[in-house]
Subunit: 483 residues, 3 copies
């Protein structure tokens, strides 16, 4: 019940008040739940929580805790998790599934408060819708597509929807940051999730890019600097982690979601160049391209040390397509024309797009999640680039390509929308318990000798990765010297 309501609150434009109500109700339920479960369960709370202003929640929260247990449990949650813990405890293409034998610190069999279940990946929806707004704007304003007689109304409608969505998601996530700061911190430490922290920034850039002409055609250039500052800081952190020799080095964490960091650069360059700026956008383009190179090569090599790279093809691979598509548009803006450079990036994205389309088993066997919105926006990006290309290379072929690809992108977004609605209202599992943020700081104790046995360091090997059929009978040689 509660699940359905909370899901709807984030999909449909909800006012902050409504959200508050939901949150409170979830929180209330959760405190009851917690009382039953005893002190070992609910320990996410922020130390920086404002004490006065949010009195009610604060009260509900406080009353639900045995003070003494709270202090003792605090240590367990607030201690920072090293990246390796995430690799050890989770698996799946988004590192979202708990491995067997691992324990989490929140009750597994209960539904957690809505805010705790609201992941940063929800911003994928904003990316999906706002990129559609850009695509329809481009479709309506490109001469080559004039024969379609499209008005800018679709752009207008989509832009407002994405604005409402962005505000709703942001407010919800802001509340999560306030009330469950440790949960947000853990998402930021999560090797895959951290890349989604670029999603809100890219969404805002997309909003600025897709703004209907009737609202404004000239954004103040100050806005650009204001928007790009957090992108710069975040990417300095991420790229720096790749270089430093710790647990987050690139040969370990490389994953298609890393593309989000780079798409931020190209989208920023595109926005800046379309505002008439020169040096700043070129800066972001250059940095983006350098790191894109590193990422492209690394992902293609599929190093065996890439622990987070999904073994099989997965919708996440569509992120491969987005970066060169956006780079193509950005370069066009920077140079003033769709030149060889623009074609270079565009053709790469086109080739990647087709290679994926012919290989991937769409939406089969994979668990739907909100992150899928982020995985489908690249289709919109490459469709938009195709429209721009058809504006340069006019002809029936490019027009057909533009329409087919725009149609495919729109259908895909509608498809994901339907899936989202189904999961939100019918299956009521759009926001499942987010185990990725609740893993225990320590590995569940295993008998030491058992681990060693598994690693093959003892006389008898019981399980083997490469060779599953192993005879238990002791080998002659070993017998020989053990007798």
């Amino acid at each position: 019940m509660n699940n359905t309501r909370s899901a709807s609150s984030s999909v449909s434009p909800a006012t902050p008040d409504l959200l508050d109500n939901h949150r409170q109700s979830s929180c209330g339920e959760f405190s009851r739940l917690e009382k039953r479960m005893g002190p070992r369960n609910m320990t996410f709370h922020s130390k920086s929580m404002p004490r006065g202003s949010m009195f009610l929640d604060q009260e509900a929260f406080r009353s639900s805790h045995d003070k003494s247990s709270l202090q003792e449990e605090d240590k367990e949650i607030t201690e920072s998790l090293p990246a390796d813990r995430f690799f050890d405890a989770l698996h799946g293409p988004e590192l979202e599934t708990l491995k067997e034998k691992e324990k989490i610190v929140l009750p597994e069999d209960k539904t957690w408060p809505f805010l705790l279940r609201f992941p940063i990946t929800s911003y994928g929806m904003c990316l999906g819708v706002s990129s559609q707004a850009i695509m329809w704007k481009t479709l309506a304003t490109t001469n080559a597509e004039r024969f379609l007689h499209l008005t800018q109304v679709v752009n207008h409608v989509l832009w407002w929807i994405s604005l409402v969505l962005l505000v709703a998601v942001s407010i919800t996530y802001l509340f999560k940051t306030i009330f469950f700061f440790q949960a947000v911190r853990r998402e930021f430490k999560h090797p895959i999730r951290v890349n989604f922290f670029f999603a809100p920034l890219i969404s805002v850039l997309f909003m600025a890019l897709g703004i209907p002409h009737s609202i404004t055609s000239n954004l103040p250039s100050m806005l650009w600097y204001f928007l790009m500052a957090p992108v710069l800081f975040l990417e300095m952190k991420i790229y720096g982690q790749w270089m430093s020799g710790g647990q987050r080095r690139l040969s370990k964490v490389a994953n298609p979601t890393n593309h989000l960091a780079i798409i931020g650069n190209f989208a920023g360059a595109l926005l800046g160049a379309s505002m008439g700026l020169e040096e700043g956008p070129m800066f972001f383009f250059a940095v983006g391209l350098a790191y894109y190179l590193v990422l492209f090569v690394t992902l293609y090599q599929r190093l065996p040390t890439n622990e987070t790279l999904p073994k099989e093809l997965h919708p996440v691979f569509f992120l491969f397509v987005a970066a060169p598509a956006v780079a193509s548009m950005a370069w066009t803006q920077l140079c003033g024309s769709f030149d060889l450079g623009s074609r270079f990036y565009y053709f790469i994205s086109l080739f990647l797009y087709f290679s994926l389309v012919v290989r991937i088993n769409f939406f089969r066997g994979f668990k739907f999640s909100l992150a899928w919105w982020a995985y489908t926006f690249p289709m919109t990006a490459v469709a938009t680039a195709t429209i721009k290309y058809s504006g340069e290379v006019t002809g029936v072929a490019t027009q057909v390509l533009s329409i087919v690809m725009s149609g495919a992108a729109t259908l895909m977004v509608i498809g994901v929308l339907v899936l989202t609605v189904v999961h939100a209202f019918v299956k009521c599992d759009l926001f499942p318990n987010d185990v990725a943020i609740a893993i225990s700081a320590e590995q569940p104790k295993q008998k030491k000798w058992f681990k060693q046995l598994k690693n093959g360091s003892f006389g008898l090997k019981v399980s083997d990765k490469e060779d599953n059929q192993i005879d238990v009978e002791a080998p002659p040689l070993l017998n020989a010297h053990t007798v």
Copy 2:
């Protein structure tokens, strides 16, 4: 005897009739051979074999089989081999030598039918000769080289030779596809051989590029689309395999022969641009460059996981030189002038060329194979690029460089030709039994405990990769607790 004749049939231009005779005779011999060897030997045959049209061969083939054994053996051969089997069972720079203890499913001590011994690498000859045709065409038509007073006769002669060669090799390989489809399928599954499936496509592109002016100067642009379609499909398959996480991921299969996939792109771009096309060639150039980057970095890193990369320098490394040389010419055609971009690719190929020349021990200690033709065509490519460069940067130095490099390339081709003739007619081993396609689907049974012993999971280690001298004496500590 039979060996000599079949070899000659592919080197000298042979009519299809002659080839048929050879095949038949080989087949005949082989059926006799098979009768002696019993049911476990010859099981390569195609299920899609036309039943009526090829009556005689069909008969010869059928009569040679005990029907019951055929059905039982069929399973063994037609089952698809995983890439890992090739890595496990073979070694050498072309994965062409059987490892010790491995068994093959065809008789080792007899000469197999000619078609079974005719590998896809034979197309290397077509690459070698047709690239020479292009080089002599360029040499005769470049102003800077006018002082040599070369006519286009050499181009003409070489082009016709390569045409005959291409037709002969193609017909032979077509027969192989018809009669020994499983063998072709296994070549296609072979991690190194699969790259040589680009060789026929590139040969045709080279034929189109080297076509003498007296025949035609204007090829219909339709031809280009027709030629590039298979290149596109094949590279989608190959590049897709690199990306997907299976046994053919790039960090495992990266090998200089992968350059053939990329040379197809650049050669196609060059042909298309020289025909006056723009978008299509640029598409292939962009895709080729992106994957070239990935391949160049990966090969240079020499990851320890690169199972197929030869440990020592080997003629195969000359393929490094070809891609940038062809890219330089393609870029020149795309841009209309030998600009900084063309120089960039050209200088890289020149540097790679000289680094190899000073390091490699030419033709020493390596087993000659038909693939060498493919390894020597890069010399022709870089010589052609040098001639084009000398047309842009005129001067004695560039003229001398052109002549020296063209001479070296021609000498090399003549040298390989001599080697081919010697192996074909004197040593009679140009087409040895192609063990690479006859490996057994299953690893030869080894006592399980022996394998574990080797992997070091048991008490006593007998062989060690890094440390060959191991004292057999049991260590004190082990003694301590075993007594």
Copy 3:
């Protein structure tokens, strides 16, 4: 005492005579030392040592040796060390510290002769000072910085200082080559040190670039070919080693010091282009860029096989900044204007610079060495590129950036200078015993079974890399079959 004097001789401009005296005195001391230590100690000497001309040293050297022991010891030192020995015996970001249990072939507790302690990394000083000369020249001649009213005097003074420094260091190192050829050979075999052999070549290029206008504005282009020949040969050797499958393959040796090989290319291209040459500089630029790509990706990936890459950030990482900064200036010269390409490289170096500045703990916890001069010259390079950029994109922002970065670079050089002086005169440890060249050719003998134990191939594992706490108690299963 002797230590202090010899250190000062290389920092302050010293005449060859002075150097000779120092060397002799060290040698004398060393021979006395050797007599006490017995025959196992001092065995570095050159077989190609001139017999007549350097009579005195020769005598001193010979007299210190028991002839019979000399011949026997010769074998130990003159035998070439494989790269793996260096990896096995040394650690640290510069592979400069001896691992525990390793022995060296020279007396550890005595100060060796000065020449033996004078490493190739001393050329770092020349790089640091000569790059400052270039920066001050650029600062004085750029219009955008005219408001500073700088004269070219600073450039003049710095240039002469760096000339004297270069001559002094070169003469000293020349003597080392003559008298201790084996030591130089070992430095050349050292996987990190070998990159510093580019330092003298780059220093000379920097000298040519920073030459004051009052001396000459037109260098003969012959000089460029003369200077670039050794760069070309050395880089053919280094890049060739990366590609060949030996112990020096890139996935093993990749280290920020490899940037020196590439900076040589870009600096050469810059010098050549500023002399008006075209093809040669473009050649070096193209080759440099191709290998820079490979290196950049490899270093960023931080492959676990990169044995020499420092685990933590270290001043050596500043070398990341230098290559794109110099590439930016070279490209500007090649193209004739600060175009998009120049910006591309410049912005990358700027981003890398800032990412390092915010992350590195300057000069803390690291042992100072002369190599630091090489690590700080990149700051000067990026400052110079910034000045050139401010000449193109005029404005207060770029002017401020130029001044701040030039100031930072100068301060850094002064800081390192102070550190050098302190280590030379106060701590007297500027030239410590250079253990990196004195490692024994063979690994100290370890009982074989102990090694096997450590590798986990025996029944009981004692130490484990991943799991330090291991209970010694034998596991039940093992007990079961050992009883």
